[in-house]
């Protein structure tokens, strides 16, 4: 088997040059997804750019109304970080459910976005919060919505993700992450859900709901029917059955006829139930 060419650049500009110059190039961050394909990568004669010697992409900062997370921050560090737990609690929760301790110690948020597994746990949360990423290539820098990046992966193939920008959760917001899988830990999501809701503090009315479901499609699915149902209502006005019906319909529309449809249309209601409880706990207007 041919050997894999591995570059270990020490600076971002070298990474960009390699991305520009080389064919069949893949970026190695934590490697917990990419190295599952090691044999295939070798067979195809791929070139790896190992980011382990790049410094300066492992920071977590709050800047005004945004959290900025360097792309090489691991899920362990995100899960344990008090600033993220305060301002993006759903991301902290999702990060704590990625793989095992061993995986979370290596896997990076940038890698999770770039690899974009349909079942990735960080993605529904990032999508719901309207997160953006900073990407670089030889031509320059760009900031792009995670949603846009995921729908235009080819366009960004030779880019390096350097940071993730997440609008912070305000006091009048409720964030949620939920996941259903075959087992409790080290489990790939069968379905997962990220939510950010904004409500009016005066009367508890939900004025904006952003809900994304993962493991239904190649990229996160916006649950627009559910968003519509929630918008304009107070938490105590919500009817469980109508809320669940909107969730089920979202699943039905996403995977009509797929073998997992009967399972997932029920499973989503379990997540919906957890979310409703969170809403009632956090957002009840007295």
């Amino acid at each position: 088997m041919s050997e894999l060419k591995v570059y270990t650049p020490g600076e971002v500009k070298e990474v960009l040059k390699l991305l520009h110059d080389k064919e069949k190039v893949r970026i190695l961050a934590g490697g917990t997804d990419l190295l599952l394909e090691l044999i295939k990568l070798k067979r195809e004669g791929c070139v790896l750019i190992d980011l382990s010697r790049i410094e300066g992409l492992e920071y977590i900062e709050k800047k005004d109304e945004e959290l900025e997370i360097g792309s090489l921050v691991t899920f362990t560090d995100i899960h344990d970080n008090p600033v993220i737990n305060k301002y993006a609690p759903a991301l902290a929760a999702a990060s704590g459910q990625v793989g095992s301790v061993q995986i979370r110690n290596r896997a990076t948020i940038g890698g999770n976005i770039a690899h974009a597994s349909p079942a990735a746990d960080s993605l529904p949360v990032l999508l719901a919060a309207g997160a953006r990423i900073k990407v670089l290539n030889a031509a320059g820098a760009e900031t792009v919505l995670v949603e846009e990046f995921l729908h235009n992966k080819d366009k960004y193939r030779n880019h390096l993700i350097t940071a993730i920008l997440i609008p912070v959760k305000g006091d009048n917001m409720i964030d949620f992450f939920g996941k259903v899988a075959y087992r409790r830990d080290v489990a790939t999501a069968r379905i997962n859900m990220g939510v950010r809701t904004v409500y009016q503090p005066e009367n508890g009315k939900i004025i904006k709901a952003s809900i994304f479901l993962g493991a239904l499609s190649k990229t996160g699915v916006r649950a627009d029917l559910v968003e519509e149902y929630l918008t304009g209502k107070r938490v105590d006005e919500l009817e469980r059955e109508r809320f669940f019906a909107a969730l089920r319909e979202t699943v039905d529309k996403s995977i009509p006829g797929r073998y997992s449809q009967p399972y997932k249309r029920r499973a989503i209601c379990g997540l919906g139930d957890d979310f409703l409880q969170e809403l009632q706990r956090e957002g009840s207007y007295e």
Partner: protein, 156 residues
């Protein structure tokens, strides 16, 4: 490619293909046979080692990624004397049967104790969730790790 790192408290330099997996380097070049390969996909935890204080699966790491790292395997714990404590309590609680998962369990437990001197059972469960055991089940292993945390001298 030349790679420098510290392995079980000794400085090492190897000249090796950068696409070699860490598990293969440890087993084949250094004969550290406590590092087992099970699934080769980061699922079973048999190849768990500690890098810079954290438990990781060595099957999903390339040697190019370990430059400057501090790596510990069970052989290192043997050298430092810590392994005796793990042996004593794993034996006492019947936490070993075929033994294949044991080195990985020990390294995951050791990494947990780095971070949390007094873990409760739930925290121990979380810490070894990435280590599969098909023989004894997990309760005996959790009992052993609980006893090590309480009595093993890591709590100081």
């Amino acid at each position: 490619m030349k790679i420098n790192f510290i392995l079980n408290d000794e400085e090492k330099t190897v000249d090796i293909q950068p696409d070699t997996r860490l598990v293969d380097l440890l087993r084949e070049r250094f004969n550290l046979l406590s590092v087992k390969e099970g699934c080769g996909q980061g699922e079973c935890g048999a190849c768990t080692v500690i890098i810079d204080g954290k438990a990781v699966t060595s099957c999903l790491i390339l040697v190019s990624q370990i430059e400057g790292s501090i790596i510990w395997t069970v052989e290192g714990l043997e050298k430092s004397g810590e392994l005796e404590i793990f042996k004593k309590y794993f034996k006492k609680h019947g936490a070993v049967q075929c033994g294949y998962c044991t080195p990985g369990m020990v390294m995951s437990a050791r990494a947990l104790l780095n971070k949390n001197k007094h873990p409760d059972r739930e925290e121990i469960r979380k810490a070894i969730a990435g280590n599969l055991c098909r023989c004894t089940g997990y309760n005996n292993i959790i009992d052993a790790i609980t006893a090590i945390a309480e009595e093993g001298g890591f709590g100081v």
